[in-house]
Symmetry: C2
């Protein structure tokens, strides 16, 4: 049960969006811009960074839903969620994405953890300033979303499958689509 | 020097807002709504929570500018910035605000740190669901802003005085006012 009375039974951040709609608006717009707006990183790559950081923050709702969204951006294979849990050690990704995930991991611990070497490694793997920027902001933003979801103890479905439909909607319809009762 | 070329010489998050304007928009709107929109907590109390969390995250730019803003909401006394550093132990604040700051401190560490006892203590000190909600979201949001500012190694003035004018503008004009070159 959530720490406060949300007056709705929706899971995770969706219940919070319905509790306070004026903060929901910029929070949804930020997610839409960050994860689906123009960027040299694909939406699938950005969802993967979001899911990875959420897993590091132990936020089941965000980790699993954004993992499912990432999977829908690629080939619909939900095993990607489990790969993310394994720290991507066994996942075939580019050296650039691996270097960006290393930066995201540092940001999750704290902004000052990122050092010149991390940036240099990302550059050597082909990352641009804009890709480094977007990675840092996505990682930072999910340190917010994760704390919002878990700091108020919202409820989350347990099984990966329950997130499949959610991830599909996130991947294909985005974060600012009309939601009954919210818009 | 920032980790990436921002193409401007503005300090802290302002330089980042000018680097990527499409994410600046929801980030500014979120700050405006959270810190200056309708809430049972005063803007001064909310700025104090923002500054406190930023100090815990060791983010000099955010801690000092929001501390200055909090001071301008009260009586313009910048010593408030230093009181915040002392963990409020010597600052005269209400039991309710102290309980909410305790929750903010937990959120800074991680969403799952907040437990039923923390919520119960805040309720006993008179905090409403909405006040608890706003505290958690402000604390979570500054875990984002702080990581964004420091994860990209933006520059920050060192002296408290340099933040006085910034805090005055934040307190009195807010976060979505027209900014040359940004709007």
């Amino acid at each position: 049960m959530a720490h406060i009375n949300l007056n709705n039974d929706k899971p995770g951040i969706v219940g919070l969006f319905h509790f306070r709609k004026d903060t929901a608006k910029p929070l949804c717009e930020l997610a839409e811009t960050l994860l689906r707006g123009p960027s040299p990183l694909s939406s699938g790559e950005r969802e993967m960074i979001a899911s990875y950081v959420s897993y590091q923050n132990n936020c089941h709702f965000c980790h699993t839903s954004h993992g499912a969204s990432a999977a829908h951006h690629f080939d619909g294979d939900l095993s990607l969620i489990d790969d993310i849990k394994k720290d991507f050690q066994e996942t075939e990704i580019s050296d650039k994405l691996r270097a960006l995930l290393d930066i995201a991991k540092k940001v999750q611990k704290g902004g000052r953890e990122v050092n010149d070497d991390d940036i240099q490694k990302a550059r050597e793997a082909g990352a641009s300033d804009r890709e480094i920027h977007d990675t840092v902001l996505i990682a930072a933003a999910f340190c917010m979303y994760n704390r919002y979801v878990d700091g108020l103890n919202t409820w989350a479905p347990e099984e990966n499958r329950a997130y499949d439909e959610m991830g599909k909607m996130m991947a294909h319809e985005g974060y600012t689509r009309e939601r009954p009762g919210l818009d």
